[in-house]
């Protein structure tokens, strides 16, 4: 056969595009995806373990005044803080953050 790719070429015509018009069409992440970090402020005791363990230094926690801040630009979304949190107040949500801050809603 001269052009072995011909068959695949027309098959991909039938299968439709594999890409999507991204900002308008967003794929739903799989359950369990590490999208962005959320802190349940009600459970947090501001112990600062997460900030000390964070490999990227993205968290700053102060006891007085009780403050928990995340620098989303430094966060590498590894989920290590979730693992070490003694009160399990931290969790990972599957949706990724928008390009400039703020968690993405549904689509």
């Amino acid at each position: 056969m001269i052009f072995p790719f011909l068959k695949t070429l027309f098959l991909s015509l039938r299968r439709g595009p594999a890409t999507r018009r991204y900002p308008r069409v967003v794929r739903t992440p799989f359950p369990g995806t590490r999208g962005h970090l959320v802190n349940d402020a009600g459970k947090c005791i501001f112990c600062g373990v997460c900030a000390r363990r964070c490999p990227a230094g993205a968290l700053v926690v102060t006891r007085t005044p009780a403050h928990w801040t995340l620098d989303p630009y430094r966060c590498i979304v590894c989920g290590y803080c979730v693992e070490v949190c003694p009160k399990k107040s931290l969790r990972m949500e599957p949706w990724h953050r928008r390009e400039s801050g703020g968690a993405r809603g549904q689509g």
Binding site: F3, F5, L6, L9, F10, S12, L13, R15, G16, P17, A18, T19, R20, R21
Partner: protein, 287 residues
């Protein structure tokens, strides 16, 4: 009146047809590759965007050659549309390509220069086919005037089938499609960044794009001319040929320049020569 209409057609309508064809090319290519791809009129949006940009140049020489490139391309079309001398059209067309080469060589960028060298190699590969095409038409009509084609009783394809095949291969080169897209193309970024058009920006790049639209029309117009008298059949075949060129573009890797010349000079040029010899023999025996 006919002349004015023809002029209007080749100067105004031709580039628009070329533009839409190029847009369709991008949509079809995207679909074949499994992408969403741009809208049909993307070439127009690109053109508008380029036109509004600041005109930056490397040197003044290269701008002159852009205008020459476009002017001679239009001249080729006008000559053919008005039924003028085909040999003159051939040279106008060659000079149009040559101005791009000289313009590209006038800058210091090595990518641009190597692109120019490759463009010359491309011309070396496809020009014989064009010359043989003109010779074939001459043998058939007994005249170098393009208008003579229109007066034929049977379409050209009947007497020039092998030249037509050779022309299809030359077309693939002229449209800068794989496997022959060595000098520049929308995707020939891998070796030469952008090749001959690398050092052109803004409105000047837009002019080159416009020239490319004219050329697309010209090249497909020649395909249609093989079927003159049955013009709609010709248009249909031209569109099929264009679609075929896009498909071939998508099932081939890019080949080396030397391979391109070797390939062209063996099969297609030989096919065309055989066709010419056959025509000549028939002519001398018949007349």
């Amino acid at each position: 009146m006919g002349t004015v209409m023809a002029l209007f057609f080749v100067v105004v309508v031709a580039p628009l047809v070329g533009l839409v064809l190029n847009g369709a090319d991008r949509v079809v290519t995207a679909r074949l590759q499994g992408r969403v791809g741009p809208p049909l009129l993307q070439p127009l949006y690109d053109l508008v965007k380029l036109w509004r940009k600041e005109p930056l140049v490397v040197n003044r020489v290269q701008i002159g050659y852009v205008y020459l490139h476009l002017a001679f391309m239009v001249m080729t079309l006008v000559l053919l549309a008005l039924g003028g001398d085909m040999v003159l059209a051939l040279f106008a067309h060659a000079f149009s390509a040559l101005s791009l080469v000289i313009g590209a060589s006038s800058v210091r960028s090595p990518f641009s220069r190597i692109g120019a060298q490759r463009k010359i190699m491309q011309m070396l590969a496809y020009e014989p086919v064009f010359i043989l095409l003109v010779v074939g038409i001459y043998l058939r009509t007994g005249s170098f005037m393009a208008s003579a084609v229109g007066r034929l009783d049977a379409p050209l394809i009947v007497s020039l089938p092998l030249v037509f095949l050779a022309y299809l291969v030359a077309l693939e080169i002229k449209l800068e499609k794989s496997p022959f897209d060595v000098a520049t193309s929308h995707h020939a970024h891998q070796e030469l960044v952008k090749g001959v058009t690398l050092e052109y920006a803004g409105p000047y790049l837009a002019l080159i794009e416009v020239a490319h639209f004219y050329e697309t029309f010209l090249l497909l117009g020649i395909v249609a001319a093989f079927f003159v008298r049955q013009i709609w059949l010709g248009v249909g075949v031209a569109l099929v040929v264009y679609a075929g060129a896009i498909v071939v573009d998508n099932v081939c890797a890019r080949l080396r320049t030397t391979w391109m010349v070797r390939c062209l000079w063996t099969v297609p040029v030989m096919l065309a020569v055989c066709n010419i010899i056959w025509l000549y023999v028939r002519r001398t025996q018949g007349g």
